[in-house]
Symmetry: C3
Subunit: 153 residues, 3 copies
């Protein structure tokens, strides 16, 4: 196992764990969208409602507010989790303290789980806004650290 | 070439190859969207139809089902290929067997190519659903392996 | 600091800098969207307009062209910056010349900044189209180099 160098570093192990957790959370949005599409009977592609009568087709090819809500949450995940994963990797390579790194990773993962619950559950604001901002600030802090260590324009 | 350590590892070479292939596939969705926008005459930004008469503008600033189909396929790529690329990197660093890694990478790449053909070609279900699920399961398997090796909460 | 190997490589430092810059640029689209949503009074979630009268709610739950423009720009960032970040990482690991790598990274970062200005400012075409294509070509060139070095199917 020549490649084990990275995997011997505790910060990198922590990064791997939390990056995988938030990516898995994002992956779960796909079956959640499918679940809402099927239970709400709201599809978008002609081929998904093949074999139905013309009248039924018209009814099923429509937008549903619950489906759109899950899809917006999924897009927000893409917009925030992907930057975290990229910046987090570079941040882990700058050799931060383990405790400091864990703090960043844990706060981010918690903020995204809260965000999903607040979004899909349509909880009153500012629950969703706040959890989104917390995650955003964590990623920005890590980006600041990466730039201050590596700046090479 | 100090950095060659990673690039001497066969699993990492395989990862680099397949990650680049699926990213290139995703990049091709952009010219495909442009092609459909131009041939179908369906634009979304005012500045894209500058210099046309008012009547023509109204006709060209509209949604077209073929364009929307390609855009949905592109978004689905983002939702699935980006997690694969991230989890696949960490998976490659956990030192799996080359044959096992190649199996994961090949099945994923094939599933995404099938998915694009099924989506853009509007093939009858379950071709699109199945190819999407296969890719999703491959990424989840790799995520499971990463967590079981690195778990460091 | 065992992990410092990567961070001692000048090409990798340059990659880290530019990847972080373009990710930060993408992160800035979130507050920009929030700014336009608030100043234009155009929201999409029921809970964002809680506490208003029914009539006001109807007015505020609508699409606004400026908000949609920023959101399209954000999605275009995801579609182009994420591939750059992934392919750029692998490209940096293939050990290119520093000058050649810097050229790729600088042109890409400049193209995305121009793209955002052209998109959000609704500048006349082909400013937006051209800047998007330049970034796309840079990523494709790096992908070609990665494949030619690592090809391992």
């Amino acid at each position: 196992m020549k490649m084990a160098h990275l995997m011997e570093d505790e910060v990198f192990l922590a990064y791997s764990t939390y990056a995988t957790i938030v990516i898995l959370k994002m992956l779960l949005m796909a079956p959640m969208t499918a679940y809402f599409r099927i239970t709400r009977g709201a599809f978008v592609n002609e081929e998904d409602v093949a074999g139905k009568s013309e009248e039924e087709k018209k009814k099923m090819l429509r937008l549903n507010p619950d489906v759109e809500r899950v899809r917006r949450c999924h897009l927000n995940d893409l917009e925030n989790i992907v930057p975290f994963v990229v910046v987090g990797l570079l941040y882990a390579l700058t050799g931060p303290d383990l405790s400091s790194a864990l703090l960043h990773f844990r706060v981010f993962a918690a903020s995204r789980i809260c965000h999903t619950i607040a979004y899909v559950g349509a909880l009153p604001q500012p629950s969703r806004g706040l959890s989104c901002i917390v995650g955003w600030v964590v990623t920005s802090c890590m980006a600041y650290r990466v730039l201050s260590v590596t700046l090479h324009l």
